[in-house]
């Protein structure tokens, strides 16, 4: 049987008194699976991701990663173990990279924390990792600001896979990239998954990207999962109106932009 690496069960997150950001969300991620989480802005995708990483404590429900239920604050040994189970890459890698740290050191720091390697071994491994994401020795001595956005995103991915996590969460990780760079990174992610059997939780509002990168998907609206299934099926024969509306809004040949409400009078439902 396929091994379940992530099991989220009845997840709930309430901010403040009554801001329900995530409500009764359940899903599993098997080894080697790529699960997409789609939905409009504010639907709760990032909050789910942050709970998976332990960056946010669920108000209700449970998360287990690699068979262990996540609960409570972790000590440093426990944190290290968790880091090798699950890693995350955010949309804007700039804010998560130390502006004064050379790219090579960014990767080596992660390695030093998790593997007993000599300095030479560490350097070699860091270069391998940079090469795996299409960067070279030349980039290792550079600072984050000397790289393009796409290159920084590669560094963030290299840093995340350096610790050889079983699951990688990507939160809008390709959203800000140019079309040509986005394609390169999507291919890179496909290569890494094929080579290592890593699992992805791929958060995106871009349905074309999701179609390319995931095999199953959940659709979120207002904190809840409104539809789920194999990605291809979900995109070809959506059942829920919400999913249908999302799909209908994607520009493609022959597409015309449409108002949600047919007449200009009346604000569309659901807008604040």
């Amino acid at each position: 049987m396929t091994e379940i690496l992530v099991r989220a069960d009845g997840l709930q997150k309430v901010f403040g008194k009554d801001m329900v950001a995530v409500d009764d969300v359940s899903f599993t991620v098997a080894r080697g699976q790529s699960l997409a989480v789609v939905g409009e802005s504010g639907s709760g995708k990032t909050t789910v991701a942050r709970m998976l990483l332990g960056l946010e404590t669920p108000t209700g429900g449970t998360i287990s990663v690699c068979g262990r239920v996540r609960q409570g604050r972790a000590g440093s040994a426990e944190r290290r173990r968790r880091a090798r189970e699950i890693q995350i890459v955010f949309q804007d890698p700039y804010s998560s990279l130390d502006p004064l740290q050379h790219i090579g050191d960014v990767i080596e720091t992660g390695l030093a924390l998790h593997f007993p390697l000599t300095a030479t071994e560490r350097r070699t491994r860091a270069l391998e990792l940079l090469e795996a994401v299409g960067l070279t020795e030349r980039h290792a001595v550079m600072l984050p600001r000397q790289l393009s956005g796409g290159q920084r995103q590669r560094v963030a991915i290299a840093r995340a896979i350096a610790v050889e996590p079983k699951v990688l969460v990507l939160d809008e990780a390709v959203a800000a990239l140019d079309v040509s760079i986005q394609a390169q990174i999507l291919n890179l992610l496909a290569d890494i998954r094929e080579r290592t059997g890593i699992s992805y939780v791929f958060i995106s509002h871009d349905l074309a990207v999701v179609n390319q990168i995931s095999d199953t998907a959940i659709v979120m609206a207002a904190g809840r999962v409104v539809e789920r299934g194999p990605t291809a099926e979900l995109l070809r024969t959506p059942q829920e109106d919400y999913t249908k509306a999302l799909l209908a809004a994607v520009p493609r040949p022959g597409w015309k932009p449409r108002r949600r409400t047919p007449s200009p009078s009346g604000s569309p439902a659901g807008t604040p």
Binding site: E40, V179, A208, N211, P257, R260
Partner: protein, 321 residues
């Protein structure tokens, strides 16, 4: 001479960099007819925003802007401060990607909307208010009276962008420069905002330059598309024919490397390397280092835009691809 509303002819923008100049826009030629929607598509750094800003002479300080820019027969580069202000406030309007950065956060939506009408068009305050509420209705905001009292932080990005569009309509410009107006929005909101722009544009006969990196969005909403790379326009075609028969290898590359909701590719066909700005491009064709069709002839000078079967293409080997 021509019936074009806007004419850009060999427009070039350089900014000072130490003792040198850096080219951001290089010999851009483009026209927009009255009521026409033209898409300006390209990756980041290609000079799309700088091109649009050049039209309003909003280049960075110290920049050198040359070539010919004509709006409704008037040479924009020769305008005095007074006429330039009139051009900016009444005839050409700009919509930005991030409305929040361009709407004063401490003033109400009502103030924002009525200000231009009162100060530039001398509309009495009471009438300006009534008109603003009507404009909000036009962009799909029904409870205008309430919205007028709200502040930007109380509105979602989609609503705020609609307010921005309403403010543009308030002055009834002849041309709208829309710089990635929907990039920060959800697809559903994007669809709605584009539909609103589209309707209003047609009703009022406004022309539009739509800047976007989304070729499919441009194809679906514009009459013609110009593809920009490294400060230059590499291809211009009608939207319809461009998506069927792209003539420039870069356009083709952009189209095939974009994932699709209908198909899954084992691996996406990619354009190798990264996009460059004009000043980073070497001699010859700026796309040459990334081009799979490149030959030795591609290194002698920048290929000029030339006509090919109804399209304009800046590639020496366009016939072969």
């Amino acid at each position: 001479m021509s019936n074009d509303l806007l004419v850009l002819d060999q427009v070039r923008l350089d900014i000072p960099a130490g003792r040198d100049w850096r080219t951001l826009v290089e010999n851009v030629s483009l026209t927009i007819a009255p009521g026409e929607a033209v898409g300006l598509v390209g990756e980041s750094g290609s000079g799309k925003s700088m091109t649009a800003r050049s039209v309003l002479r909003l280049a960075p300080p110290g920049a050198r802007l040359s070539g010919r820019i004509e709006f409704d027969g008037t040479p924009v580069l020769d305008l005095g401060p007074r006429d330039l202000r009139a051009l900016r406030t009444r005839r050409i309007a700009m919509i930005f990607q991030d409305p929040r950065a361009h709407i004063n956060p401490v003033r109400s939506i009502g103030d924002f909307l009525t200000e231009a009408m009162v100060t530039h068009l001398s509309v009495p305050a009471r009438e300006a208010h009534a008109r603003a509420v009507r404009l909000l209705a036009d962009v799909g905001i029904a409870d205008g009276e309430r919205r007028m009292r709200q502040h930007p932080h109380e509105l979602s990005g989609g609503l705020l962008q609609r307010v921005m569009i309403a403010s543009v309509l308030a002055v009834e410009p002849d041309l709208v420069l829309a710089d990635e107006p929907t990039t920060a929005l959800d697809v559903t909101t994007q669809s709605e905002v584009m539909a609103i722009l589209d309707d209003l544009r047609r009703e009022r006969g406004m022309a539009m330059l739509l800047i976007t990196h989304d070729l499919e969005l441009a194809a679906a909403t514009c009459d013609r598309i110009a593809v920009m790379y490294a400060g230059r326009i590499l291809e211009v075609q009608s939207a319809e024919t461009l998506v069927q028969t792209p003539r420039h290898p870069y356009t083709t590359g952009l189209m095939v490397s974009r994932p699709s909701i209908d198909r899954v590719a084992h691996r996406l066909p990619v354009i190798a390397g990264r996009p460059v700005a004009a000043f980073e491009a070497g001699a010859g064709c700026a796309f040459q280092p990334r081009c799979t069709q490149a030959g030795p002839e591609c290194l002698t000078g920048r290929p000029p835009l030339r006509e090919l079967a109804g399209a304009h293409v800046a590639c020496v080997r366009a016939e072969e691809s």
